[in-house]
Each structure stands twice: as C-alpha cells, then as structure tokens.
C-alpha cells in the first residue's frame, strides 16, 4: 500500500496526480474463504480489517451487493458520542470512541474525525432529571460529560434560542466535549483500503441470495454474481437487511427495518461548530466542513425497505430545528434522502452467534451505529475469530430476548443516533 503523507502529496503533484495507486484491488473471488463478511458498510469493512490485522486470518472476503459504503454508512448524519446510560452500552460505545481518536493514524487515511462536542438538550423537568442521571452514570464509567444550564449552552452555541417564550424552552443540556462528527465515506474507504492492503478481497456488486447449509451449519454463501462461495464462518453485517438474510437461514430476528431520513441545506458560512440534539422537540443539527447544515430526526413509524420516508417526518423535524434556530428559516434545503435502519426492542445492537452454527450476526444498530463503527468491527472480529465471545459483546447476544436481560437505551441515551 502506498502511504499517504504530505510528502507523497507533493511528489504526486509534480506528475499532476496521474499516478496514484488505486485505493483497493478489484479481485477475482477465491472458491473458499476462512471468513466471509456479508455487507460492505463501515461495520463490515472494519470487521474485515481487524480480522486480518489482529487475528491474523488469511482468507477473508467482504461481499457487498452494491458499492462499498453505499448503505447507511454513506447516508448517516455522522454524530459520534459515547454518553449512553447503561454500563454495557456505555463501555461498548466508549471503546469505539477511543478507537476513533486514533483512527486516521491507524488507517493512514483522514477520516476527518472532529471532536467538536455534542449537546443533548433538555426541555422539561424530567428531561433534566434524566440528563443529570445519565451524566453521573457516564462519569462513573470514565466518560466525559457535564450538565449545562441555558447560559452555559449559549456560551457554546450563541445562535441558539434560549428564550423562555418558546413552546418548549431549553432548560439545560448534557455536554460531551469528546463527541463530534467524522466523514462517513472516508471511514468506509479508509477501512476498505487498509483491509485490502492486508489481503482482504473486497467483492462489490455481489449480493448474497442464500446460504449453503449442511444440517445446522453454514458452509458457504450463494451469490448473484459468483455462484456459491465456501466459507468456514460467515458474519452478516447488513443493517436494514438483516431480517432478509436471517430469513435465508430460516430464522427470525428481533429487528424491524424502518426508513430514517436526513437532509442538508445548501452550503453557508460557518455558523455552528458543534452538534446540537434534542429528543424532546425531536431534531438534531450540525454543520459539515463543506458548510451545509446536516439535519435529521426520528424514524418513520412504519417498516420499510425503500430507502425513503414520508414528508410529514421532514416537516416535523424542520419545525423543531426552527424552534431552536429561528434564523435558519431562510436557508434553502438542498437534498433529502433515507436509509433503512435495523431497530431492536431495546435500541441496542445484536452481536454474536445465530441459531445456525458458524453463522454470526452484527446488526440492530438502528439509528445510531455510525459512532460505533470502529468498536463494532473490533468486537465482531473477536466473535468471528475466537471461540469465546469478547466481554464487550457478551451482553448483546440474541439470548437476551429470551432471558429478558435487555439493555434498555431507549430514552436513556438522550436521543437516537
């Protein structure tokens, strides 16, 4: 792999940038892999990277039905934070946040991770009690957090409307300074390039249409492009399509797939240098380096695989954003889109074994898995490579839906995403 550096940029400038190496190969598939990852989003690519790097697995393939990072990874609003309420979730997301902090160096790829801080606003007495509780729990878990009053919020975001004369006045917020945003595509591309350099075969335009099963064991995957490919183990990381894949293997998951929408404005001068989220009025906003305001909210209530949602959700979101930032009422919106998010009953992921031997799932990240990308890949690689499920992943097995040991992060985390 050609390393990226200031020097290489200078060198290639002399030849008009005509001779950069391709970021990854377009290999022919091998008939058999030790581990096949289904789904070339950030989580799948990160899994492959850590399998090759930390577990020394040699024959690995990532099968992606579209193009790398074209699913939720390339559609999300890129908020990264780790201030979850319960120990299990907080530790998992904090593991990811720690990996984010060195990711650009690790991958030799600028993922533009920007720790500009995340505010979760409270608008009711109960919101503020929950925020106090969550920030206290975070601190006990060694996660940074502060409770701010409206004056404190105003110092960080001078634009925000903290007037008492609004429908839902802002009473305070939690503030996680180490949270922020990252460049979503770069995360997929960075992991892809680094995994490829370690010998992982990235097979794009290759959809999985079924599994090769022998009794209770998976022996390989059927694809729409290369026929059947044999595998020792298979890890499915397909987000909104997880139930479809589980269906191929003959079981159901406690997952429902919903549209989740986002929209961006046309680029404007820098006005907002942090992330503002509100669960109560239900909207969140940040500004990208390009200058567009990046806005999102909750899922559409119905299930759907169409990668688009309904207009009323967008209207509701924008109403909420304008209550927080009345001055944005004149900003034209540029683009709007949707992804398919895999929601679970407790708003926590499912990581680990499935009812079929050697078939593993990593799904259920729902509206908030981008922030977990490095951590998710890291622990899932551990699941696939070792006999034991890693401690961080253990509380997130499918068995919790039978035992009742759910990790209820619904309201607790302040807001989805």
């Amino acid at each position: 792999m050609q390393r990226y550096s200031a020097f290489s940029l200078f060198k290639h400038a002399l030849s008009h940038h005509q001779h950069w190496q391709q970021a990854w190969r377009n290999p022919e598939p091998k008939p058999y892999y030790d581990i096949i990852i289904v789904g070339g989003g950030g989580h799948g690519l990160a899994t492959a990277y850590y399998l090759a790097k930390e577990h020394n697995i040699k024959r690995i393939a990532v099968l992606e039905k579209g193009y790398l990072g074209g699913g939720n990874t390339g559609r999300n609003t890129t908020i990264v934070r780790s201030n979850y309420l319960w120990d299990e979730a907080a530790q998992l997301y904090e593991h990811a946040l720690k990996l984010w902090e060195t990711l650009s160096l690790e991958l030799n790829y600028n993922v533009m991770f920007s720790q500009r801080g995340v505010l979760n606003l409270g608008h009711t007495l109960q919101d503020m009690r929950d925020i106090e509780r969550r920030v206290s729990a975070n601190r006990l878990n060694g996660i940074d957090g502060e409770v701010l009053d409206p004056a404190g919020i105003k110092k960080i975001v001078p634009l925000i409307n903290t007037s008492k004369n609004t429908r839902y006045p802002i009473l305070g917020a939690s503030w996680q300074p180490r949270g922020g945003v990252a460049r979503h595509d770069a995360v997929a591309w960075g992991y892809a390039r680094a995994a490829d350099a370690l010998g992982v075969d990235l097979l794009q335009g290759c959809g999985v249409t079924g599994f090769d099963l022998a009794g209770d064991q998976v022996k390989g995957v059927q694809t729409d492009r290369y026929g059947t490919l044999g595998a020792g183990r298979v890890g499915c990381v397909v987000a909104g399509n997880s139930s479809v894949l589980a269906g191929y293997a003959g079981f159901e998951l406690p997952v429902e797939s919903h549209p989740l929408q986002a929209l961006v404005s046309e680029p404007i001068k820098p006005v907002l240098d942090t992330v503002v989220m509100s669960n109560q009025v239900h909207g969140y906003i940040s500004q990208s380096d390009k200058g567009d305001l990046v806005i999102g909210a909750g899922i559409d209530s119905y299930t759907g695989y169409g990668q688009r949602g309904s207009l009323p959700v967008i209207e509701h979101t924008l109403a909420a954003i304008l209550e927080l930032f009345p001055m944005f009422s004149r900003v034209p919106m540029n683009r709007q889109w949707g992804g398919i998010v895999d929601t679970t009953p407790d708003a926590c992921p499912i990581i680990g074994k499935s009812p079929v031997d050697n078939l593993y799932f990593n799904c259920g990240w729902g509206t908030g898995g981008f922030k977990a990308t490095p951590g998710s890949g890291h622990v899932f690689a551990g699941c696939l490579a070792e006999q034991e499920i890693p401690a961080l992943a253990k509380p997130f097995g499918l068995d919790r839906f039978y035992s009742g040991a759910l990790v209820d992060e619904h309201g607790a985390a302040g807001v989805a995403h």
Binding site: S243, L253, Y302, G306
Partner: protein
C-alpha cells in the same frame, strides 16, 4: 406520504391521521405461564420484518380511533389492501403486484 384506506370510515386519508401499530396477526399465547422463555421471547420480540408484502396494523387516531389491518409492500410502500380486524386477510396471491 402514504394514503391509507380506513375500512371503518370507508375513506382514504393521509398518513398523519394514523399511527402504525406493527405486524398483524400475532397471536398471544393462550397460557403465558406455560410458555418457555423461548416461546415468550419470540412472541414479545421476534418479527417477520418482511421485505415485500407485509400484513400490519394501523390505528386511525384522528378518525374513527379504531385499529384495522393493512397489506402493504414494504419495498415500494404501496398500500395494497385494508381490512377489518378479524376479517380474513386478502390472499396475497390475489393482490395484483
């Protein structure tokens, strides 16, 4: 935006009048005390989450305030049929795709 026909009001109305209420035709175990953890967990949490024709419940919150069933394509979001609770669901084969 979805336009959904309410079989009780006998009118098609816009989506914001309704609330989505999840997969239809899930039968509560008649004797929960006799269920294994497996059976009870499946009843509570596991869903078909179909990519394709899906039978689901909707609640007409801003209308008759009654629940009813809908057959909808979760890929195109097209509403294929609405029918009352307790009615026999339309045969999926008969609904033209």
């Amino acid at each position: 935006m979805l336009r959904i026909y309410c079989p009780i009001c006998e009118e098609a109305r816009d989506e914001p009048e309704y609330h989505y209420a999840g997969q239809a035709h899930i039968v509560r175990p008649s004797d929960p005390d006799q269920c294994s953890d497996q059976e009870w967990g499946e009843y509570l949490y596991f869903r078909s989450n179909l990519r394709g024709l899906h039978r689901e419940m909707w609640y007409h919150a801003a209308g008759c305030r009654k629940f009813f069933n809908v057959l909808r394509d979760t890929q195109s979001h097209e509403v294929k049929a609405s029918y009352r609770l307790g009615a026999t669901p339309p045969d999926q084969e008969e609904v033209r795709l």
